[in-house]
């Protein structure tokens, strides 16, 4: 079965410090991996994706993520956190080709950047 785990419901980090939001996945085929951000009362916004190629993926707003096949992880990172990064972050996976056109989302991690 396909699944995504975000082991931390809440992450707090001081402004200017590096941040990491964790994601692990379970698929039987090839993982298509995504990170999205959600601000209060808004829809999800796409940040970055891994489909194939370089394991280090760069995305919007200075975020990056590293695909680690052996650890089945796709952690989101940023070298220096901003207060405006405070939001809810979701990891998602599509199990290609096994689950057709469906995506599976984690339960989300609430990031708070403390001034």
């Amino acid at each position: 079965a396909q699944s995504v785990a975000q082991p931390e419901d809440q992450v707090n980090v001081a402004e200017g410090n590096p941040l990491t939001v964790k994601c692990t996945y379970s698929v039987s085929g090839n993982p298509y991996l995504f990170w999205y951000v959600q601000y209060p009362n808004r829809g999800l916004q796409f940040l970055l994706k891994y489909i194939t190629g370089d394991n280090l993926v760069k995305g919007s707003y200075g975020f990056e993520a590293e695909f680690n096949k052996s650890q089945t992880s796709f952690h989101l990172k940023k070298p220096s956190a901003l207060v405006s990064d405070s939001a809810l972050y979701f990891c998602a996976v599509r199990d290609y080709p096994n689950t057709g056109n469906q995506f599976y989302f984690g339960t989300g991690t609430s990031l708070t950047v403390i001034p």
Binding site: Y36, Q45, I51
Partner: protein, 115 residues
């Protein structure tokens, strides 16, 4: 481009009433999705469509119906509303890659309360 639009933004229903949540995208995307978001539960897929005239069930389809008569529109119908359908509903669309759908573009959501 307006992207993905949803109406209404808010709605309160009485138990047993019916309603249709509207979703329109102007990006000519083949894939469209309906999710519900409940606190601490992430996003759960209700229905999806791979093109006009083609729809399929997701994880939690009971109590809902969809249709896709055009590329642009993907309405979600709630019949006989129940308190368990109180949630925030998001519509999303995705373009095609060689391996099928990739990142999704989300609407702003509809907050539905069933009393």
């Amino acid at each position: 481009n307006a992207g993905v639009t949803q109406t209404p933004k808010f709605r309160i229903l009485k138990i047993g009433q019916s309603m249709t949540l509207q979703c329109t995208q102007d990006m000519n995307h083949n894939y469209m999705y309906w999710y519900r978001q409940d606190p601490g539960m992430g996003l759960k897929l209700i229905y999806y469509s791979v093109g006009a005239g083609i729809t399929d069930k997701g994880e939690v389809p009971n109590g809902y119906n969809v249709s896709r008569s055009t590329t642009e529109d993907f309405p979600l119908r709630l019949e006989l509303a129940a308190p368990s359908q109180t949630s925030v509903y998001f519509c999303a669309s995705s373009y095609s890659s060689a391996g099928g759908p990739v990142e999704q573009f989300f609407g702003p959501g509809t907050r539905l309360t069933v009393l």
